[in-house]
């Protein structure tokens, strides 16, 4: 079953000089549930734009986007937010935790929005933290009291704790040292294998590309290579 279906997706931006730039150019793509996929390519090749379109953060100029059976091009801004809340998990390069919330509160934030009870939230966050190797004493620390690796683990926990069908990770290891990045990738791979969560990475980190079962390469907004290592 396909989790993501893109058909002839094109995204045209206007640059600072109002000149149209094709960030994504007629991309057709199908990603099945449970895949561990990396989208690679040089800077400006359209990786992040493609990831944003899949995540409903950006709308294509033309083409169709189906994620988890939903046509994202037809959804309003509120419906898109609802869709992201209930279907997706996001992991960003700069962790992007909410600075005034503790690690636990950051991780449970999506559950809070979903209306999950306090007890259930606590149990699920505790379990996710344990699986990702986040020490219990870090739960009540705020992001500025955590190292980069710890923050990214919390960000991964935030993405996983609501049990999404799909996790989109934009350069998740770019700000981490190789050891921390490697450990975190192993954890994500483990989650993928154990829980069947679909992962799509945008990256130019060779570690991510090595671990990906499918590697899609973009250039000038077009897919130039799509290799499946299964």
């Amino acid at each position: 079953m396909n989790t993501v279906e893109l058909s002839r997706v094109t995204k045209i931006y206007q640059d600072k000089n109002k000149i149209p730039v094709k960030a994504v150019d007629g991309v057709d793509l199908e990603i099945q549930a449970g895949e561990f996929t990396a989208i690679a390519g040089p800077s400006g090749s359209g990786k992040t734009t493609l990831l944003n379109i899949i995540g409903g953060l950006d709308k294509p100029t033309s083409g169709g986007v189906q994620v988890g059976g939903q046509d994202l091009t037809a959804l309003s801004r509120d419906k898109l937010a609802e869709f992201r809340l209930n279907t997706l998990g996001f992991i960003f390069q700069a962790y992007n935790l909410i600075p005034v919330l503790t690690a636990e509160e950051n991780a449970e934030f999506m559950l809070l929005l979903q209306g999950v009870s306090a007890q259930e939230r606590h149990t699920r966050v505790k379990q996710e933290f344990a699986e990702l190797g986040i020490a219990a004493e870090l739960m009540h620390r705020r992001p500025n009291e955590l190292s980069g690796g710890q923050q990214q683990r919390v960000a991964v926990a935030r993405a996983l704790v609501s049990h999404p069908q799909l996790i989109l990770a934009d350069e998740p290891t770019a700000n981490l040292d190789s050891k921390t990045g490697s450990v975190l990738l192993d954890k994500m791979k483990e989650m993928n294998e154990k829980k069947g969560v679909t992962f799509i990475f945008s990256t130019h980190d060779p570690m991510v590309m090595q671990r990906a079962r499918r590697l899609i390469t973009l250039k000038d907004g077009k897919i130039v290579e799509d290799v499946n290592h299964r």
Binding site: G55, L57, R77, A81, R84, P99, V100, M110, L113
Partner: protein, 410 residues
């Protein structure tokens, strides 16, 4: 929205210094506005109460035209109405007194001058107005006095007359007949109002009726109620009871110039305060915009993980409203403390201000503060409204922000 309360509260304090400056600025503005309004309203209240209670009274009943013409042609029988039953029928009325008001020439051994001659009921008048109590030398008129008068201190000075001296009054009576009689000065009245002290002569009502050949006639009945602020409504009610036979005027109608004076002062004060409120609005706008701009990426992330645009806007609204509400509470508490402390002490007015007020006939020598609810409500409501207006643009900008735009801007 309760999901965001904790987040909003922490966001208020994430930049503690900025929030404290905003809260302090709003609270300070509330205190300044409340204090200014307290002083204004306190002064107005004192001026009005003084003007009403000193001489004119709260409500006057007279024949239509008397207020403009001031002639005896507009007199009426003192028992034309049953004033006592009118008093009894309206529990808000506390008393009445009858008067004759006219003019005459007063002479002493050495000088003559024009005077405002007031025939009063010495046993009733003190319950309605205060001027009969302001006798500085000699004594005030009493029931049963005959051919005794109290004259203004400046009038006495101009006549070179003192207590126990005889003065002669020449007038034109009701039907143009000559009125003339001699009276002994019993007391000197010093109201502080130069105009009044220079012209007034008080005599018993019966003596005035004889002098002006009015016999049972009077020119006015003056009423006092339990609260002079309700005089207009009460005047209408009395007018209805009298079936329109006589004109009934409240103190606002009797002294429109006082209302005008207060209105002008109030408007100029309000314009000054409006500037303060606008500055507060700009401060709230600025602080909110800074917060929104600094947190643009964070709002993008929040939307990316499933927070709806309207919820992000609601978060800003919640944070800002909480901050303003906190400022209003602090401002209110400080205002109450400052106003009640200052009104507790009698702070003297500068001498030139005392003299300036006396020019207009108002005699008070210390600052007057009001603690009425409107003193506090006005700044609270106006700042709350301005704060909400100041939030429209920042909240709208946050609401319109798309996640991709938020990532691109930061």
């Amino acid at each position: 929205m309760n999901k965001f309360v904790r987040l909003a509260w922490r966001n208020i304090w994430r930049n503690k210094r900025r929030s404290l400056i905003t809260i302090a600025a709003i609270s300070f503005a509330i205190v300044i506005i409340a204090l200014t309004r307290s002083l204004q309203y306190g002064t107005y209240d004192t001026m009005e109460a003084m003007a009403v209670n000193l001489f004119n009274g709260e409500i006057q009943v007279h024949r239509t035209g008397f207020h403009q013409e001031r002639t005896l042609a507009y007199h009426f029988e003192q028992d034309e109405q049953n004033w006592q039953s009118l008093l009894d029928s309206n529990p808000r009325l506390q008393g009445y007194t009858r008067r004759i008001t006219s003019f005459g020439l007063v002479s002493s051994d050495s000088a003559s001058t024009g005077a405002l001659i007031l025939g009063i009921e010495p046993d009733q008048e003190p319950a309605i107005t205060q001027f009969t109590d302001l006798v500085s030398d000699g004594s005030k008129l009493a029931a049963g006095d005959d051919h005794l008068v109290v004259i203004g201190a400046l009038l006495a000075k101009n006549l070179q007359a003192g207590i126990g001296d005889t003065v002669v009054v020449l007038t034109q009576g009701y039907q143009n007949q000559m009125g003339a009689d001699a009276y002994v000065v019993k007391g000197l009245l010093r109201s502080g109002q130069a105009e009044l002290d220079r012209s007034i002569m008080l005599m018993p009502l019966s003596n005035a009726q004889d002098l002006f050949s009015l016999y049972d006639g009077i020119t006015q009945v003056v009423f006092k109620s339990d609260n002079f602020r309700g005089a207009s409504r009460l005047a209408k009610s009395i007018s209805t009871s009298l079936n329109g036979k006589l004109e009934v005027m409240s103190w606002e109608q009797l002294m429109p110039e006082l209302k005008q004076l207060i209105l002008m002062d109030n408007v100029s004060g309000a314009i000054y305060l409006a500037f303060i409120i606008v500055v507060v609005g700009i401060e709230i706008f600025n602080a909110t915009m800074m917060s929104v701009v600094e947190r643009t990426r964070e709002f993008g992330i929040m939307q990316a993980i499933g927070v709806k645009p309207k919820q992000v806007g609601g978060l800003i609204l919640l944070e800002s409203v909480s901050k303003v509400a906190l400022s209003l509470v602090v401002g209110l508490i400080l205002s109450i403390v400052v106003v009640s402390t200052l009104s507790h002490y009698q702070i003297p007015l500068p001498k030139d201000m005392v003299e300036a007020y006396a020019e207009y006939g108002f005699v008070f020598d210390d600052l007057k503060f009001s603690a009425s609810p409107r003193v506090y409500l006005e700044p609270l409501v106006s700042i709350a409204v301005v704060a909400l207006l100041a939030l429209i643009i920042p909240i709208y900008k946050t609401y319109r922000l798309s996640p991709v735009e938020a990532f691109r801007k930061t």
